[in-house]
């Protein structure tokens, strides 16, 4: 039995659902396809992709193989077509995409820089200290209305104070914080 007859027999068995014959056939086809694709001038780093596409096409097109005909021309046609596809894709990529190393290096990351993260932590600490130093009524108004984002009605129920008193406390607290924080910055 010649090599081509062997392939034909394996493909004929595959068409009947023989998975073992099919595995053997695909394993034998891969190096032949790789050689055909390489001869077509496909770059080395694209050969594997083209071989995989060839194997997938063999799978999809296996009903088109006529066991009374030689197998290798059938395989060669598929591998050559997938090589042409790979060359086209490669050509499009190299024509449209350019490598710009400077742009890559200068592209800002999504995360904040380390010094900005430290600044933000400092600011949070200073604000927390300023709030802690407020008189109890004002501190309570800031915590409920500004930090926890409660409504005036809810805060009035929680504290037992009138809404007017809470508004006044919040207003005074904001003025006190503004003075203290701007004083800190000036210092």
């Amino acid at each position: 039995m010649t090599e081509s007859q062997g392939f034909s027999a394996l493909m004929a068995a595959s068409q009947t659902g023989d998975a073992r014959a099919y595995q053997a056939l695909l394993r034998a086809c891969a190096p032949i396809a790789a050689a055909i694709i390489r001869r077509q001038g496909v770059p080395a780093d694209r050969i594997d992709d083209a071989v995989q596409e060839t194997l997938l096409t063999i799978h999809r097109a296996r009903a088109t193989y006529d066991p009374s005909r030689p197998f290798l021309p059938w395989l060669r046609a598929i591998a050559q077509r997938r090589a042409v596809d790979a060359l086209r894709t490669h050509g499009r990529t190299t024509a449209r995409e350019i490598a710009d190393d400077d742009a890559y290096l200068n592209h800002p990351g999504l995360e904040l820089p380390a010094d900005a993260t430290l600044d933000r932590a400092d600011q949070t600490r200073v604000l927390a200290e300023a709030i802690a130093a407020l008189p109890p009524g004002q501190r309570q108004a800031v915590e409920l209305l500004a930090l926890r984002e409660r409504s005036l009605d809810e805060a009035a129920v929680d504290t037992g104070r009138s809404k007017g008193a809470l508004k006044v406390n919040l207003h005074r607290a904001i003025n006190a914080l503004r003075q203290r924080l701007s004083g800190d910055q000036d210092a």
């Binding site: 394993r27 190096p31 194997l55 999809r60 097109a61």
Partner: protein
């Protein structure tokens, strides 16, 4: 990965759920099946034609029946070629198969326009009749092309544009042949141009749409 072991994962995946497949019938058998569908369409239109007048028209001058036979043979040959080119490994020279009948069809149609003697069993052609012919050919060719492309998609057309063009030519030829059944007019230049425009329109459209469908299906 020269020995194929590097593709083990893919090979294992492809062979894991392997289902038996029945090899496709030969291209000429599949073309014959499509021609059978065309015959059904022609039979429907034949119900509305005057068979006697048709026979006399075709027999009155050689260009009349040559043109009809040319269109019919172009359709059959182009369908056969389309199915052949959709099989991997078959020569692209199959695309030449419809050229002789196509040449005969064009030559006979042109000769009909040059003929000095008008033939009997024909009617005077209405104004702008060429547009009616164009619409008819396009309207009949489109479903025939859709059927042909559906059959072709079961194979693996590696040259999508070539195969789809042949499918378009087959459909246009079949539609033009069917038109002859209900076309009680002598050959004119206006008719010839309208038929030519319709054939080119169908071939171009099917080539564009068919090739796109084949590429999208990643056959």
């Amino acid at each position: 990965m020269p020995d194929g072991t590097g593709y083990s994962a893919l090979i294992g995946e492809l062979s894991a759920g392997l289902q038996p497949v029945r090899p496709l019938a030969s291209p000429w058998r599949r073309a014959a099946l499509w021609c059978g569908a065309v015959a059904w369409v022609a039979a429907i239109f034949a119900l509305f034609c005057d068979a006697g007048a048709l026979f006399h028209r075709l027999a009155a001058a050689p260009d009349m029946w040559l043109s009809f036979a040319g269109a019919l043979l172009t359709a059959a040959a182009a369908a056969w070629a389309a199915f052949s080119t959709s099989i991997p490994g078959r020569s692209s020279y199959w695309a030449m198969l419809p050229l002789p009948p196509l040449a005969a069809w064009l030559a006979a149609s042109t000769a009909g326009c040059l003929r000095m003697r008008s033939i009997g069993w024909t009617q005077p052609e209405p104004h702008m009749h060429g547009m009616d012919c164009l619409y008819f050919i396009v309207m009949v060719a489109v479903p025939l092309a859709a059927l042909l492309m559906w059959q072709i998609m079961r194979a693996c057309p590696l040259r999508p544009a070539l195969t789809a063009s042949l499918a378009g030519l087959a459909s246009a030829g079949a539609a033009a042949a069917v038109l002859t059944l209900i076309h009680p007019f002598d050959a004119t230049y206006e008719d010839l141009l309208a038929h030519l425009a319709a054939v080119l329109l169908v071939v171009g459209s099917v080539r564009l749409a068919g090739a796109r469908v084949i590429r999208k299906a990643r056959l």
